[in-house]
Symmetry: none
Subunit: 162 residues, 2 copies
């Protein structure tokens, strides 16, 4: 898998009273260059208390990868079960949301709860996907490198002063 357009950079945006958030323009441009759909897929991150996000084209790619994995190890009895579980997570436990002409999504209430997103959303590019964090939770997580926390603190400070 070699994607040429990667998600990169960070931004801290507001979630307004209606639950709307602007997806940063630099992330949107990757979504559109990858597949053209003005849509993103949201999922609970497997390891961190945040959301994982990507474009529909990447979701399709991940699905294809799972399929190939199944065909290889079809002999194992556990493999089939694991395939079913992963498939459920990849599709049933995700939500696809379109963004409007101004680049905003309406954060689905379930995802908002799962990601514990309050009134600020920290966007972090991670290459193939990007993450959406409640910045307070990121600062509290011991697994996050200090340098990255510095960035989160900078984004928070930047927002206070302007």
């Amino acid at each position: 898998m070699a994607l040429e357009h990667l998600f990169q950079g960070s931004a801290l945006n507001a979630v307004d009273g209606k639950g709307r958030v602007s997806i940063p323009a630099f992330l949107r441009s990757v979504v559109e260059r990858r597949g053209g759909a003005r849509t993103i897929v949201l999922a609970k991150h497997e390891a961190f208390p945040c959301l994982s996000a990507y474009d529909p084209a990447y979701a399709a790619l991940k699905h294809a990868k799972l399929e190939r994995l199944l065909e290889k190890e079809e002999t194992s009895p556990d493999a089939a079960l694991e395939y079913q579980q992963r498939n459920l997570m990849a599709f049933a436990a995700t939500e696809e949301v379109p963004y409007d002409s101004s680049g905003r999504i309406l954060m689905p209430p379930m995802m908002r709860r799962k990601g514990e997103i309050a009134d600020l959303a920290l966007f972090l590019g991670t290459g193939e996907t990007f993450q959406i964090w409640n910045p307070d939770l990121l600062l509290k997580d011991p697994r996050i490198p200090e340098d990255l926390k510095d960035i989160a603190r900078f984004r928070i400070e930047e927002r206070r002063t302007s």
Copy 2:
């Protein structure tokens, strides 16, 4: 990884009131020969108080390397976390900035702070990547070879006289 086009040479350019800096033409030509994108990626240097810079193609290459590493040692539980951390540092802690037709970038405020860049930016080619320094910090750093400091002094002097 064998890149045929390497960053080399040095230059001292001004950061103007809007935060714009010209990327030296000899560095831009390497970026464009490597991948064609008129864009550079900025990151805090891991060891020195300066910025590290490269082209998007090099970033993608680094990413592919990480991916391969993961697939090999997927068995380990710690490996997954370390992968997440490295990915965050490689993508969330960096910023991709395009340069305009005159070869200038807008130095992002976060990077400007992280690299402690004031109103002069010293560019140093280092092969696969290049560095951007506040020249005063380079002259103060005891780890920098005296010969390199001489070059920095020359660039500063050169700018004074013209």
